[in-house]
């Protein structure tokens, strides 16, 4: 698999994806702890953020938060 690439090259390619995923999940959980939420309880949004991966985070940040 991906045999033309060495391991460091492979890590360099996949690393940005990993950083985006992890960063967005941590940020969404942080916002969940600080903001008021709507439509669903906080525990349900937490499950959506964790198991919905990037799309779950985007849905929470767009429609899940009560705007100031």
């Amino acid at each position: 698999m991906l045999n033309k690439l060495s391991n460091p090259e492979l890590i360099k390619l996949i690393l940005p994806l990993f950083i985006i995923q992890l960063g967005l999940t941590v940020f969404s959980i942080y916002r969940l702890s600080k903001d008021k939420v709507k439509y669903l309880p906080k525990w349900a949004w937490l499950l959506i953020i964790i198991f919905g991966e990037i799309l779950g985070c985007i849905i929470f940040l767009t429609i899940g938060r009560e705007r100031e």
């Binding site: 698999m1 996949i14 985006i20 916002r31 990037i54 985007i58 940040l61 767009t62």
Partner: protein, 251 residues
């Protein structure tokens, strides 16, 4: 001009505070990275799941990796963009936030133009950036069927123009219905209908979705007719949005 500058700053500040930049960036850039990696892994995933040599039938090259990104840009990314921007005009109309600035002499046309231009420029920058990243990944991971970088940039420009049209359409529908969700759903419906209409050869070059077809095929046939048609629709829709905005703000 003062109203335009003030509202441009206001939009930038609001987008920053409501994480709209972050969401648009991720919605556009994520698939630029994800698509080529998934396509590279696809034959191996198929091999492990399905018996037989099905994986060898799938030939993925640089061109198909970029085309896959274009496909995602007009499906999942469009949905993310609509979700992010759907409330930006309708909220102001429905909550009547503009009565005070208008009484102080703010120009409503400048407010609408500032909103449209701000999001159009932001999305265009992200799309061009996304195409550059996607091309880099595609060239690194695949070797066959190379396409010129110039063609990729033309595709990025065509998709940016299409998003410009989508933003104006969203603002126009928001100004009519005052409900962001309804406007976003209608834009999605029109997007699907125009994807079907583009198959009719006689009218294809006048339909905005033709920009995506041209970007996907890396051709420039009838490109000017389509671009001028879309720009004309954009001007008409902008004028109608401003008119509706004025009527609805004080309704």
């Amino acid at each position: 001009m003062n109203t335009f500058k003030a509202y441009l700053k206001k939009e930038m500040l609001e987008s920053w505070r409501q994480y709209k930049y972050l969401l648009l960036f991720i919605g556009i850039i994520l698939f630029a990275i994800l698509d080529p990696i998934l396509l590279k892994l696809l034959p191996e995933i198929l091999k492990s799941k399905i018996n037989g040599d099905l994986a060898s039938l799938i030939q993925i090259d640089i061109k198909s990796a970029v085309q896959n990104y274009i496909k995602d840009l007009n499906q999942v990314t469009l949905l993310i963009v609509l979700l992010t921007l759907m409330g930006s005009l309708s909220d102001e109309i429905s909550s009547q936030k503009l009565i005070f600035p208008y009484s102080k002499g703010a120009n409503l046309s400048s407010i609408v133009i500032a909103k449209i231009l701000h999001y159009a420029v932001t999305i265009s920058i992200f799309i061009i950036f996304g195409f550059i990243i996607n091309y880099y990944y595609a060239v690194t991971l695949f070797s066959e069927n190379i396409i010129a970088f110039k063609n990729v940039l033309i595709s990025a420009a065509l998709i940016s123009i299409y998003y410009f049209f989508v933003i104006i359409l969203l603002m126009f529908l928001s100004s009519i219905f005052k409900k962001g969700v309804l406007a976003a759903l209608l834009v999605l419906m029109l997007h699907i209908i125009s994807a079907l209409l583009v198959n009719i050869d006689k009218i294809a070059k006048f339909i905005p979705y033709n920009l995506i077809s041209l970007a996907n095929s890396f051709t420039t046939e009838n490109i000017l007719t389509t671009i001028f048609s879309v720009l004309l629709y954009c001007i008409i829709l902008s004028l109608l949005t401003i008119k509706n905005y004025k009527n609805n703000t004080f309704a």
